[in-house]
């Protein structure tokens, strides 16, 4: 085959074996050779490729200091003179997915080498990077590592060797929304008749061009005067009464809580906590206002800047929670708010 390929692997603080959420602020660092799941990839590559180095960066640091992080990570990757970059896989971890997508995109653009990452289709990184990055489809959790790694490695090798790729379904990556011409065995008119016959019979058929859907709403008109308005607070940061009485899950929440705050002026750390498992809870547990700003909204209410604060706040955990579920919560919450004349909502997210 020729020279052994040089591969660099990008990981977050957790897979890079630095630490958990408490280490999500870790600045970029590098380690020679394979770390953590890199060993699995190395085993798959065998003699064909060497993971010569691993670059690790904390998920919070990457997302909060994007420019500096990208610059530093890119420099470290470049130092290894790789032929290929592997990132993650990030599964359904949003911050990690964004980091993997951003690094892959930058590497392809600046270093002109192929890059492959892996994500669960709902990962926030997919929407942002699917067009410019090959994202192999993975399961939602790291239990899917053994399933994802061989497909990532296989696609990576094809890219490095410049081999022609099959369809996204064949190669196992998420369709990038890039259209490429291809000759069919049948002419378009024949295909149209066949497709219509299937559709008329109620049989399954595959459209050649799925309609794009735009999940956007028109901006609501500005509210001139807020001092008559009822405002509600919602958070995806998981602030719940201490003990989490509704058992809102720390990840993949299946529910939201609705909490009575009549007469509650302040959120005491003795009475409230965070249920969210996707960020370091220390700061929110010390002072829940850091995620749900009840104290200042009460002040603004007293001063007349808003009409009144809605007597309930809503909380869920936005950690790997499915879009479908979140949409369902919003529809229910909106019913309450509309019925009770709430005109304004502040949603706080971590």
């Amino acid at each position: 085959m020729g020279n052994v390929l040089r591969v660099v692997h990008y990981l977050n603080q957790f897979f890079g074996q630095i630490g958990g959420e408490d280490k999500a602020g870790t600045k970029p660092l590098k380690r020679d050779g394979a770390i953590g799941p890199g060993a699995l990839f190395q085993g798959i590559f065998g003699q064909e490729a060497d993971i010569v180095g691993t670059v690790i960066c904390g998920d919070n640091y990457f997302n909060e200091q994007a420019e500096a992080a990208k610059k530093a990570v890119l420099a470290m990757i470049e130092g290894y003179r790789p032929n290929l970059l592997l990132a993650g896989p990030a599964f359904n971890a949003g911050r990690y997915g964004i980091a993997c997508g951003a690094i892959c995109e930058a590497v392809v653009d600046r270093l002109r080498i192929p890059a492959v990452t892996g994500m669960f289709p709902e990962n926030a990184g997919v929407e942002l990077y699917r067009k410019s990055v090959y994202i192999v489809e993975t399961k939602a959790s790291s239990a899917g590592m053994r399933d994802a790694a061989p497909r990532m490695a296989a696609l990576a090798m094809k890219l490095v060797r410049g081999e022609a790729l099959g369809s996204p379904e064949e190669e196992g990556y998420l369709p990038r929304g890039i259209r490429r011409n291809v000759f069919n065995l049948e002419r378009g008119a024949t295909r149209a008749v066949d497709m219509l016959l299937q559709k008329m019979k109620g049989n399954a058929f595959v459209t050649e061009y799925p309609m794009p859907s735009f999940d956007r709403v028109d901006p609501v008109s500005a509210i001139e005067n807020l001092d008559e308005v009822t405002l509600a607070l919602i958070t995806s940061g998981g602030i719940v009464p201490k003990g989490n009485p509704d058992h809102v899950e720390s990840s993949s929440a299946s529910k939201y809580g609705k909490y009575d705050i009549r007469g509650v002026e302040r959120l005491s750390p003795d009475s409230y906590e965070t249920a969210h498992g996707g960020y370091d809870p220390t700061y929110a547990n010390e002072d829940p206002h850091r995620v749900l700003p009840l104290d200042v909204v009460r002040d603004l209410e007293r001063e007349g800047s808003i009409g009144e604060l809605y007597p309930y706040y809503y909380a869920t955990v936005g950690n790997g929670t499915s879009v479908a579920k979140a949409k369902g919560f919003a529809e229910e919450i909106a019913k309450d708010l509309v019925r009770d004349g709430v005109k304004a909502v502040i949603i706080s997210s971590t």
Partner: protein, 67 residues
């Protein structure tokens, strides 16, 4: 009318929020443990007031209310 105070603005844009206020940091969007409690409250109030300001602002498209 909803305003999204959030730490990761690109996600907010992707999911279609029309009025977005960037927050302080992921584990403390409306606070800062490096500051005193008083300073944090001032900072938090400024962010919420920015959100209220966003509600009073006409927007044609998605808009991030920076600085």
């Amino acid at each position: 009318m909803a305003v999204h105070i959030c730490s990761i603005v690109p996600i907010s844009k992707t999911v279609g929020a029309n009025r977005i206020v960037p927050a302080v940091a992921i584990p403390h969007p409306l606070g800062d443990p490096a500051k005193t409690t008083e300073e944090e409250k001032t900072l938090r109030r400024a962010l919420v007031e920015k959100a209220l300001g966003a509600m009073k602002t006409k927007v044609e498209d998605q808009r991030v209310f920076e600085g």
